[in-house]
C-alpha cells in the first residue's frame, strides 16, 4: 500500500480504524460504543472468567464437530454430484438454494428438532458450512483433466486408484470450499448459540448485552473474529501449497 508516495504496511489501515474507534468512543455518544482501549482492557477480563472457558470449550467442540461433519458429507456429496449425472440433476438445485438461503431462519426449526442444546449448534454449523464445500468439490471433480483419467485407464488403474486420482486432482477446489466452509461455520456457531442463547458464547453475549457490559461484549466479538480469521488463514496456507502443485494442471 502506498500513501502519498510513502510505503505503508497494510496493517496501517487497521490502525487507522482502531484510532477512529477510540476517538468516537471517547465522545461517549453511544452506550453501545465504548472506546477501543476499554474493550482491550476488558479482554483479559473476559478471557479469564470461568464462564468464558466453559463457553469456549462448548463453542469449539460444537464448531469442530459440525465442521468435521460438513467436510465429510460435503466432499462426499460433491463427489457424488460430480461423478453421477443423475445425482447432480437431483441435488444441484437444492444445494444452490441452501447455499444462498438465509439459514438463520432455519435455526428455530433445527431447535425444535434437536432441542435447546449442543446438537442444534452442531447442526447449524453443519448447515452453514456443508453446501459451499459440496459445490466446490463438485466443480473440482468436473474439472479433472480427461486425459489424466485416460492415462490412468491406459496404464490399468483400478476403480479405487482412479477415484484417488479424481480426489487428488480436485484437491485445490475442495480446499477452497473447505476454507469458505470454515468461515461460514463460525457464522453458524455464533448464530446458533445466539438463538439458543443459553449455551456457549451465545449465553455470554446475552449476559453481557443484558447487563450493558458493552466493553466485554466487544471484546468477545474481537476474540471470535480473531478465531475465525486465523482458522481461515491456516486453511489458506494449506491451499497455497496445493495450488502450487496444481500449477501444472492448466
Amino acid at each position: 500500500m502506498e500513501f502519498y508516495g510513502f510505503k505503508v504496511p497494510k496493517a496501517a489501515a487497521l490502525l487507522f480504524w482502531a484510532a477512529l474507534w477510540e476517538i468516537v468512543g471517547q465522545f461517549e455518544l453511544l452506550l453501545l460504543f465504548p472506546p477501543l482501549s476499554e474493550v482491550l482492557l476488558a479482554l483479559p477480563d473476559v478471557l479469564t472468567t470461568a464462564s468464558f472457558a466453559e463457553a469456549a470449550t462448548l463453542t469449539v467442540t460444537a464448531y469442530l464437530g459440525g465442521l468435521a461433519l460438513a467436510v465429510v458429507i460435503g466432499i462426499g456429496l460433491g463427489m457424488l454430484m460430480g461423478l453421477v449425472k443423475a445425482a447432480d440433476n437431483l441435488l444441484n438445485m437444492w444445494v444452490n438454494i441452501f447455499l444462498s438461503a438465509p439459514l438463520s431462519a432455519l435455526v428455530p426449526v433445527i431447535m425444535i428438532i434437536f432441542g435447546m442444546g449442543m446438537p442444534t449448534v452442531v447442526v447449524t454449523v453443519f448447515m452453514f458450512a456443508v453446501w459451499i464445500i459440496a459445490l466446490d468439490t463438485r466443480a473440482g471433480v468436473l474439472h479433472v483433466s480427461p486425459s489424466l483419467m485416460e492415462m490412468s485407464t491406459s496404464f490399468g488403474a483400478s476403480r479405487l486408484e482412479r477415484f484417488k486420482i479424481i480426489l487428488l486432482s480436485a484437491m485445490p477446489e475442495i480446499l477452497a470450499g473447505v476454507r469458505l466452509g470454515v468461515i461460514r461455520g463460525v457464522k453458524g456457531v455464533v448464530i446458533g448459540q445466539l438463538l439458543v442463547s443459553i449455551i456457549g458464547v451465545g449465553a455470554l453475549f446475552s449476559l453481557y448485552s443484558q447487563n450493558f457490559l458493552m466493553a466485554h461484549f466487544w471484546a468477545l466479538i474481537l476474540i471470535l473474529f480473531a478465531f475465525a480469521l486465523s482458522l481461515a488463514e491456516v486453511i489458506a496456507r494449506l491451499e497455497h501449497r496445493i495450488e502450487y502443485y496444481a500449477g501444472a494442471r492448466a
Partner: protein, 266 residues
C-alpha cells in the same frame, strides 16, 4: 518343399505384424463417421506415423488401438490377440502429457509400474533408468510445474518406456512444445529407437515430422477418415540427425505427400 516355404512365409508375416486392424469403423454419437473401413497392419519394431489433416480420425484410430475407445465395428489384434481394453503390452504417450501435478518426476515415471504393483524400490530403480534415458537425470525430485513443456513430455515418454510395453502409442507428442524443443525431441527419438527395440505408432499432423521419423506413413483422408495411401520413406537415419533434414529423399517425399494432401485442405 514349396509347401514348407509357403507356410514359413505365412508364419513370418504373421509374426512380423504386431498390430492388425480389420474393418474398423467408428461412428460417434452425433452420426459423425470418424473412421471407415480401416485395415492396417503395423510391423514389429517399426515406427509408423498416422498422418492427416485434423478431422481424419487419426487420434480416434490410435485410441482404439490403445483400447481407450471402442470401435463401432471391426477389431484390433495385438500379438494375435483381440483388444478388449488397455493392456500392458501397449503404453500411451499423451498430447498434453497427462502428468499428475502432485507427484514428482520419478513417481510420475514410475506410475505405470506402481499400478502394476511393482515394489517401490524396484519401480523407482527402473523409473530412474528411463528418466535418465530420456535426458532428465537430476530432475527426479522436481514437480511437473517446475519443468518446461518439452521436459514434461519426456516424463510422459519415460513413464511409457518404464512399463516395458512392446508398443508405444504416441498421440501428437510434440505438438504442445515449441519448435526448437520439438526438433531436439525428434532427434532424441531416433537415438532412442537404436537402444529400445519397440514398435512405435505416432499420430502427427506434421508432414516433416512423419517423414523425418517414420519407417511407414499411413495417410488418412478426412470426413470420413479413410485410408488414403501408405508410403515407406527409405531414409538412412544412421548418421548425423541434422543431415536428414537436407537429404534429397526427405525433401522430395515431403513435397510429394503435401501434393497429395493439399486437396483436402483447399
Amino acid at each position: 518343399m514349396n509347401m514348407t516355404t509357403a507356410i514359413k512365409t505365412q508364419a513370418e508375416t504373421a509374426n512380423d505384424a504386431i498390430i492388425e486392424t480389420r474393418g474398423l469403423h467408428k461412428v460417434y454419437g452425433g452420426g459423425v463417421t470418424a473412421l471407415q473401413d480401416i485395415n492396417l497392419s503395423f510391423k514389429r519394431g517399426e515406427l509408423t506415423s498416422l498422418l492427416g489433416p485434423s478431422g481424419c480420425g487419426k487420434t480416434t484410430l490410435l485410441k482404439i488401438i490403445a483400447g481407450l475407445l471402442e470401435p463401432t465395428s471391426g477389431e484390433v489384434d495385438v500379438n494375435g490377440k483381440p483388444v478388449k481394453g488397455p493392456g500392458p503390452e501397449r503404453a500411451f504417450v499423451f498430447q498434453d502429457f497427462a502428468l499428475m501435478p502432485w507427484a514428482t518426476v520419478l513417481r510420475n515415471a514410475a506410475f505405470g509400474l506402481e499400478l502394476q504393483g511393482v515394489a517401490k524400490s524396484e519401480r523407482e530403480d527402473r523409473a530412474r533408468h528411463y528418466v535418465a534415458e530420456v535426458g532428465l537425470a537430476g530432475f527426479e525430485d522436481k514437480y511437473p510445474h517446475e519443468l518446461s513443456g518439452g521436459m514434461r513430455q519426456r516424463v510422459g515418454l519415460a513413464r511409457a518406456l518404464a512399463v516395458n510395453a512392446d508398443v508405444l502409442l504416441m498421440d501428437e507428442p510434440f505438438s504442445a512444445v515449441d519448435e526448437q524443443t520439438r526438433r531436439k525431441f525428434q532427434e532424441d527419438l531416433i537415438r532412442l529407437r537404436e537402444v529400445e527395440n519397440k514398435t512405435f505408432i505416432l499420430v502427427t499432423h506434421s508432414i516433416e515430422e512423419a517423414v523425418y521419423l517414420s519407417d511407414s506413413i499411413v495417410m488418412l483422408s478426412p470426413r470420413p477418415g479413410r485410408l488414403n495411401r501408405i508410403v515407406h520413406p527409405a531414409i538412412d537415419r544412421s548418421g548425423d540427425p541434422d543431415l536428414i533434414r537436407r537429404n534429397p529423399e526427405y525433401l522430395d517425399l515431403i513435397d510429394e505427400i503435401w501434393a497429395g494432401l493439399r486437396a483436402y485442405v483447399e
